[in-house]
């Protein structure tokens, strides 16, 4: 469940609905009631209102905190750090982006072996986004030219197949053509 929420686009969509739906239930309802049904002053006992206000704010804050705390272990920096601690070997891949192609030091990987992508741009802003064969985004990087440290993270592929790479930062008239492909094979060991 958490994998879905924090690691897929539709999970993000679900998270969004989780917050929007309560709002959509409460706000239009009160507007409708006090506008069309009965615009007479509502009961606003100050004590009650203060309590309501507290409940409203505290539950909002609590939800905000929970959603973000649970996400921590899904953040690429914590994933990367965790893999670095446990993995015996991490395969290093250097990527150089320029308008409108990638230079990739290795395009073939094995299932289950962590890969560290270190990606740099040498001309303008580019992206390096890897798509699962089923079309979902696995991760996303933004590349600012001139940054000393390349954008970097460790990722472990879990399924064999052809993985599309796309640039997701607008980089000029052939931006949509800036793509590449990675191949993931079953591990032989």
């Amino acid at each position: 469940m958490l994998d879905f929420l924090y690691q897929t686009g539709w999970g993000a969509f679900t998270l969004m609905l989780l917050f929007q739906i309560p709002f959509l239930l409460v706000f239009p309802y009160i507007v409708y009631r006090k506008c069309f049904v009965n615009p007479k002053p509502g009961n606003t006992n100050p004590r009650k209102m203060t309590r309501l206000e507290t409940v409203w704010i505290v539950s909002a804050i609590a939800l905000f905190v929970i959603v973000n705390l649970y996400s921590i272990s899904y953040m690429p920096m914590s994933r990367t750090a965790a893999t670095e601690k446990t993995a015996a070997v991490i395969q290093d891949v250097d990527v150089t982006a320029r308008s409108w192609s990638y230079e990739i030091s290795n395009r073939q990987f094995e299932v289950g072996k962590p890969v560290r992508f270190s990606v740099k741009s040498v001309d303008t802003m580019h992206g390096f986004t890897v798509y699962h064969p089923n079309g979902k985004i696995l991760f996303n990087m933004m590349l600012i030219p001139g940054l000393e440290k390349p954008s970097s993270l460790v990722y472990t592929f879990t399924e064999p197949g052809k993985y599309k790479v796309r640039c997701l930062e607008y980089c000029g008239i052939a931006h949509h053509g800036m793509q590449d492909e990675l191949t993931v094979v079953k591990s032989d060991g």
Binding site: T8, A12, F23, K34, C35, I57, S99, K136, S151, C171
Partner: protein, 500 residues
């Protein structure tokens, strides 16, 4: 003279013909001029919005798509929406402070905004396709690669600099001047407000944000411009031409520009809502709570811009990423407070079903829906899924569309004072309905595209799964609803009748 210019303008002139009999010309004429001009930009740019999905379906040229997106984004954000907002808020400040909203400074605001936008438009037509976020150093790299000429870069940057001067310096100076200096003129005072009033506080806060967060960008952009003109050598401004420097000063400003515009419109909502209460009390549930919400928005927004850079990690140190994540969600606390204040006000006093107020409330709903969309993307883990997709493109667009609807509601309220004419209720409600359907539909369509991994600013929707083109079709359909909403709004202005 200005009144005559407005009157002589074909079609739109009739909508904004200022009522001179009231003696309020000093707070009405320039605002009317700005609002009218902003509509010209709207009409052109919104058609370009509808053109984008059409280009994709008909498989037209990618260059056309990138020109359309550049003009659509730039024109709707600045000479349309920002100018629309300036027009209304200059009128509001004038009426609340009893100060003239005209004069040299206002003229200059108008000329810089529209002159700059015209120059940028010419540059785009001349080949410059850099989107409204400039994507620096793309303008220079594109020129080196022969995608467009250096002349167009110089022309475009000059235009952008003029627009930014208007937004970052001239407009804030005018609002500050009106709020703190000069003599009050009794005859201009329509409804006196002080800075303790949430309806005024937000206005001053937001111009301060523009001034403070925009100045670094002005310095960097100014240095670049001097180099482009050949006045100083490029090496001398190496500190400014660094892409990282530009990207950071850009987003410090661009993010806060959106927040400033949001604070300004929320404060206008706080000022307008009480005027429509059913029991006639004209008071918010709590001014203190309203002000607190504005302060929270102010404080949390300033450093949440780091969320634009999560995916450059470790280029953006993790600590700053966490900070950006925290601040982005903390803005939500301000929004939760605003929601509570508005609901409690409505609950306590009841409201009248006037189209202007309905537009404001519908706009607020879209604003909150979009705020959630933004907060979710402001989570680091999620950002690695949706950054660079239509999700974020949709957020940028939806927040503007939401603010636009709230301002349209506020203008609905001020329109009779400016023109001496009254609007039709039925057309008003129809406009709110059409616009609201369009806005919500666009928001979810863009988010769905993002969920499917559909890139933003990407001239090949055919390259992905079928779902991408379906999203494109949904964008076109809901876009047409939005356009129908705008048309109805203008139709109402066209048909408005003299009050007397």
């Amino acid at each position: 003279m200005l009144t005559a210019t407005i009157r002589r303008t074909p079609i739109l002139g009739k909508m904004f013909d200022v009522d001179e009999s009231t003696g309020l010309s000093d707070i009405n004429t320039w605002p009317a001029m700005m609002i009218m001009t902003s509509f010209v930009w709207l009409i052109v740019a919104i058609l370009l919005g509808a053109l984008m999905p059409v280009i994709q379906m008909a498989e037209l040229d990618a260059n056309l798509f990138y020109s359309a997106i550049t003009l659509h984004g730039a024109a709707l954000a600045f000479p349309f929406l920002f100018q629309f907002m300036m027009g209304i808020s200059l009128h509001r400040s004038g009426g609340c402070m009893g100060k003239s909203a005209s004069g040299k400074l206002t003229t200059l605001i108008y000329l810089c905004m529209n002159g700059g936008a015209v120059l940028l438009t010419l540059a785009v037509l001349g080949g410059l396709k850099i989107t409204y976020t400039v994507m620096y150093p793309l303008p220079l790299v594109g020129a080196q690669m022969g995608a467009w000429s250096m002349n167009m870069v110089v022309l475009g940057f000059t235009g952008i600099a003029l627009v930014l001067t208007s937004i970052i310096f001239l407009y804030p100076l005018q609002i500050i001047r009106m709020s703190f200096f000069g003599k009050q003129r009794e005859e201009l005072l329509l409804s006196a407000r002080t800075l303790k009033d949430p309806g005024m506080l937000g206005m001053v806060m937001s111009v301060m944000i523009l001034l403070v967060t925009g100045t670094p960008l002005m310095i960097v952009a100014g240095a670049l411009l001097l180099a482009l003109y050949g006045i100083v050598p490029l090496e001398a401004i190496a500190w400014a031409s660094e892409p990282v420097v530009f990207q950071y000063v850009f987003y410090i400003f661009a993010h806060n520009l959106m927040e400033a515009m949001a604070i300004m419109v929320i404060s206008a909502v706080y000022a307008t809502l009480p005027l429509y209460l059913a029991d006639g009390t004209r008071k918010l549930y709590s001014d203190k709570l309203a002000n607190l919400a504005l302060w929270i928005l102010l404080v949390t927004s300033v450093t949440s811009f780091f969320h634009h850079f999560y995916t450059t990690n470790p280029g953006l140190p993790s600590a700053l990423a966490y900070h950006g994540n925290f601040m982005s969600w903390a803005t939500g606390v301000g929004a939760a407070l605003s929601t509570f204040t508005i609901l409690a006000t409505i609950w306590k006093h009841g409201i009248k079903p006037e189209p202007g107020l309905m537009a404001i409330l519908a706009g607020f709903v879209v604003y909150i829906l979009d705020g959630v969309n933004a907060m979710v993307a402001g989570n680091i883990a999620v950002s690695y899924q949706v950054h660079g997709t239509l999700w974020v493109g949709g957020h940028a667009m939806s927040v503007l569309i939401a603010m636009c609807l709230m301002w349209m509601g506020v203008l609905y309220h001020h329109y009779p004072v400016i023109t001496g004419k009254k609007l039709d209720k039925k057309l008003g409600s129809r406009f709110v309905t059409l616009y609201f359907i369009g806005a919500v539909g666009l928001l979810y369509s863009f988010a769905a595209g993002g969920a499917m991994g559909m890139p933003r600013r990407f001239a090949d929707w055919d390259a992905g799964p079928d779902g991408w083109m379906m999203v494109g079709i949904a964008i076109l359909i809901f876009g047409l609803f939005l356009i129908a909403g705008f048309v109805t709004y203008m139709q109402n202005f066209m048909r408005s009748r003299s009050i007397s």
